[in-house]
Amino acid sequence: MNPALLLLNSSTLVHLSPVDLVIIVFYFALVLGIGLYLKGQANTGEDFFMAGREMTAWVAGLAFLSANLGSLELMGWAGNSYKYGILAAHWYWIGAIPAMLFLALIMMPFYYVCKTHSVPGYLKLRFGTGAQAISSISFAFMTVLMSGINMYAMAVVMRVVLGWDLNFSILVSSLTVAAYVALGGLRSAIFNEVLQFFLIWAGALLIPILGLIEAGGWSGMQAKIMQNLTELHVANPGSYTHLWSTLGNFSSNPMGINWAGIVFGLGAVISMGYWTTDFLVIQRVLAAKDLRSAEMAPIIGAAFKMCVPFIVILPGLLGLALLRDPNTGHLLRLVPADVAWSPAGQAQGLHGYDEVLPLMLARYCGPGLLGLGITALIAGFMSGMAGNVSAFTTVWTYDIYGTLLNKNASDESKVRMGRWVTVIGVFISIGTAYLVMHTQSIMDYVQALFSFFIAPLFGTVILGMLWKRATPAGGWTGLLAGTLSSVGMYTWVKIDPQAVRYVAMSMDAQDQAQNMFRALWCCLICIVVTVVVSYFTKPKPDSELKDVVYGLTPIPKTEHTSIFQRPVFWAAVVAVIFVILQIIFW
């Protein structure tokens, strides 16, 4: 029997062999062993929360990237590339690279020189405790929610792919994460993120290699996609393999977006907001051993980020080209998750967009390789949980407990609090996972909530860093106005779907396009309100802005190092490769 037929006809996508199970069990044993080994090196606050601030640029850079390279991300964007074509690669290129380089060269010196423990901590130094309290509480809330969603998503994937019980998956993964983060703190989380980075590449790289061999190379894949989509009467089938040439107007590409939404909404606001102000990723860089390492870490992360579409976007495109229903021989058309998971969808054996990566994994990977691929997915989910939990622990301990609840807390008590909060955070995440299980639409709202906060926060932080005239009142009101306007636009479209034509400038705009434009407008509103209010309120004296604002912060010079050791040189190399990639896939 055709193996693909077996896979699609069975209740689970794949069946593990004993060697696959050995590989999975070995991974769990290894991460627990690492946690136990690192316990003795997490005795002070700096050790537990900031990994001793002694990471090399390579370790910080890989952890910085891995914190964002969870399985939700991998499977979600592989699914999006199946749905939207190569346009999904924008989230890895223009939606990441310029922001990462901007973080490295412009923003990192301020974060690093002021020695803050967190992004809310920076807001405290720049705008006072009000802005810090609101941002830290929002962030803590979001991280445990995201951790729970990661946990739930992992359990669902394990059920769909392997037929594992939901409770079993949640229990095993959460206890493992709680153990290794509580034992080793951020250092342990970072060790596992680096391990996860290699596992993901080892487990996923074979899919595009074998897929391209089967499809007959890039041009063969393009021809097959064109043929398949024409067969399905999909509009603009050629647009699925072009990055920029179809962005002239909203209706000529599958995402319903134009170049302005991608460049300004995604490139200038969403990605800048995420990569420069989300503490989950910034925490990894703040733990670097010196300023040069802190600047190099995002550049190293950017170099690898440019390669990620090869293991995420390409498998989605290959799925579009190669996946066929083994019963009928017709093109296998994946559908939205809610359709696939409906009783009718289940009865017809439909698969959701997000299942394209496991489907491709099952297509090419036999015993052993399958175990490695599944381990990479598990590692990605657990790393996502651990990243959220370690960031939550730091923000809770320093920005809520240490600032609002017990200002005189000793270093020892903070470490003790950190270990307990790690365990408590995991238990809250378990609760969230079960909450999500019963109200699946909450995941959509969480994504929206995330964008409500991140986009305006970028406006506040960037003005705070680069414009010394920005006042505490301006920063706070701008952040509030940006967030409220984002919520308002979201609600407006929910109540009146016709409002999409105003918010996203076109009725063709799909969810992602709406997110881009909403982020752009709310960031602009935040900036305008901050500027206007700042001109009407009293600024802080220069003496209070030292080390947090451009022009008042002495940045350590690196004149005496060779050009190959300078971050700006490597940032230029990454920027040139980025431009070449845009031209190649234009």
Binding site: M1, P3, A4, L6, S17, V19, V22, I23, F26, Y27, L30, I34, Y37, L38, G40, Q41, A51, G52, E54, M55, T56, W58, V59, A60, R187, I190, F191, V194, L195, F198, L199, A202, L206, L210, I213, E214, A287, K289, A362, R363, Y364, C365, G366, P367, G368, L369, G371, L372, T375
Partner: protein, 79 residues
């Protein structure tokens, strides 16, 4: 941080990839001797053999290069 004490992060990475590579390589050889009943697509390329070998070599190089003994020697030389 590179070392995290006597055991380097790169040692753990090498160990993980090396062990997985060895298991995948052995499974691939076994599959050549006893072909499976249900073959994956492009089975004829025996991806598990060469991919397992690549992981094994890469992992072994890292595990040896950053082995605890070498790390201790390097640390004592630095002090």
């Amino acid at each position: 941080m590179k070392t995290g004490g006597a055991l380097s992060i790169w040692f753990f990475t090498g160990l993980c990839l090396g062990v997985n590579g060895l298991l995948i390589f052995i499974t691939g050889i076994y599959e050549i001797i006893h072909p499976p009943q249900h073959e994956v697509v492009l089975y004829n390329l025996h991806a598990n053999v060469w991919w397992g070998a690549i992981l094994l070599i890469f992992g072994a190089l890292y595990a040896i290069r950053f082995s605890p003994a070498r790390e201790r020697k390097r640390m004592s030389a630095n002090t």
